[in-house]
Symmetry: C2
Subunit: 258 residues, 2 copies
């Protein structure tokens, strides 16, 4: 299994604090030692840092922990391999283009019978159930909306949730998906989220002896939502999602729930 981390915010915000907690679980406070990755959006563009090594001792992860990249949409993943060997081609997040935007996907869980999932022209590069599920999702979207995105984003996200529901029937399918504007969290077994807004307080990481006073780092209008497999901090009101539930965030706020 693996762990997920996502962020949706209304102002470009760095994720160094949460990432510091996450990467400790990559082979130190957690067993997820088989690679890690993180994707930051800046406008329509995005960049991914990934490494097939354990995050808790990865020099690239160490660099990012101390280098604040500000973004309104972030997806991160640490991996404990089950389907597919340890290697860069099997390291999440995966990014592909659809309709002239970059779509980024990360998955926690394990699927059975995933080899039978149709992928159309989106062919997996690696061997994971996750990448195949992502390619299947893109194929289903292209087939359902051959003319491009529907007029109402709600129509689109409800369809994605429907496909996610089908994938959940194949095993465990906790998922983060973003195009840099919207970020969907789909819960199959475990996923929690937390919105920070004024008045901002302090927070303390669970996996590392580190505390931050967000009041000193934010403005009163900032809204920042963090999504994670399990809470990264103590004493904050993380909301646990129920199996089959999804939330689509936009600029840190809940845009759609189901």
């Amino acid at each position: 299994m693996c762990e997920l981390l996502g962020m949706s915010a209304n102002v470009p915000t760095d994720i160094c604090f949460s990432f510091t907690g996450l990467i400790k679980r990559g082979g130190d406070t957690g067993p997820h030692k088989d690679g890690w990755g993180i994707t930051f959006y800046e406008g329509k563009g995005c960049r991914t840092f990934k490494d097939p090594d354990a995050s808790h001792c990865s020099p690239v992860a160490g660099f990012l922990r101390d280098y604040p990249i500000k973004s309104c949409a972030v997806v991160s993943h640490i991996r404990q391999a089950n389907r597919g060997k340890v290697g860069l081609e099997n390291t999440h997040p995966f990014t592909r283009e659809l309709w002239g935007r970059n779509w980024t996907f990360a998955h926690n869980g394990q699927l059975s019978g995933y080899q039978a999932l149709a992928t159309g022209t989106s062919i997996p590069v690696g061997q994971t159930d996750s990448e195949r599920a992502f390619c299947h999702l893109l194929h289903r979207i292209r087939t359902r909306f051959p003319e491009g995105p529907p007029a109402k984003p709600q129509t689109f996200w409800r369809f994605v949730a429907k496909v996610a529901e089908e994938l959940k029937a194949l095993g465990v399918f906790n998922m983060l998906l973003t195009d840099g504007r919207y970020l969907m969290a789909y819960c199959s077994t475990k996923l929690q989220w937390l919105t920070r807004r004024a008045p901002f307080g302090a927070a303390k990481l669970i996996d590392e002896d580190m505390e931050v006073d967000f009041g000193a780092l934010t403005t009163p209008d900032d809204v920042v939502t963090v999504i994670a497999t399990t809470p990264l901090t103590e004493g904050e009101p993380w909301a646990a999602m129920a199996p089959g539930q999804y939330v689509v965030f936009r600029l840190g706020e809940v845009y759609l729930k189901g």
Copy 2:
């Protein structure tokens, strides 16, 4: 205009030395201050580091200069914007999937009338002539080989060279393209390459006061080819390509020329 850097090798080799020379040209010894990127292949997987800032003072570039990532195929680019604003979505290299492999593309030059280039299902995310040319190339490949890659790689690469020739007719089109196994260098105006093999000697960068003795870092069987817009080192036999010429490298050796 921009500068290109590529590497093809028969053993995983780091490119720190050449990259150190290149990034000095990103706003210091050269004017290419509008972003930079570098893609490393490890097997079928690849990872890209990119930044919309000038490479000579980019903390990410500084980190990579000192952090040896070993790879058999590398493509790098530093940008001086002409078509498309400065931003991550316009920063090379660009990577897209075709036939279950990651294809990475970088371009030096400027094209006219590029908005008319058909791209099929590969839609550009940014505004550059370069990304559009890459999407056009992928579209042409898909249309020419609808059943997947032809039996002979030569057939494939000759077709790519033919499309590159057409793109060259729209302006300046120096290009690097790789799938991690093969690396094509297509010359429109300037591109040079150099193969290092035993007996290895020392080399000195032009853009930075740095010298390396490759004899101390290599084994007698290593073959490493470096491709660049203009020579990065003094006293080594760089080969200048002629306009319209291409070379496809595989494991550091010339695989196909035209």
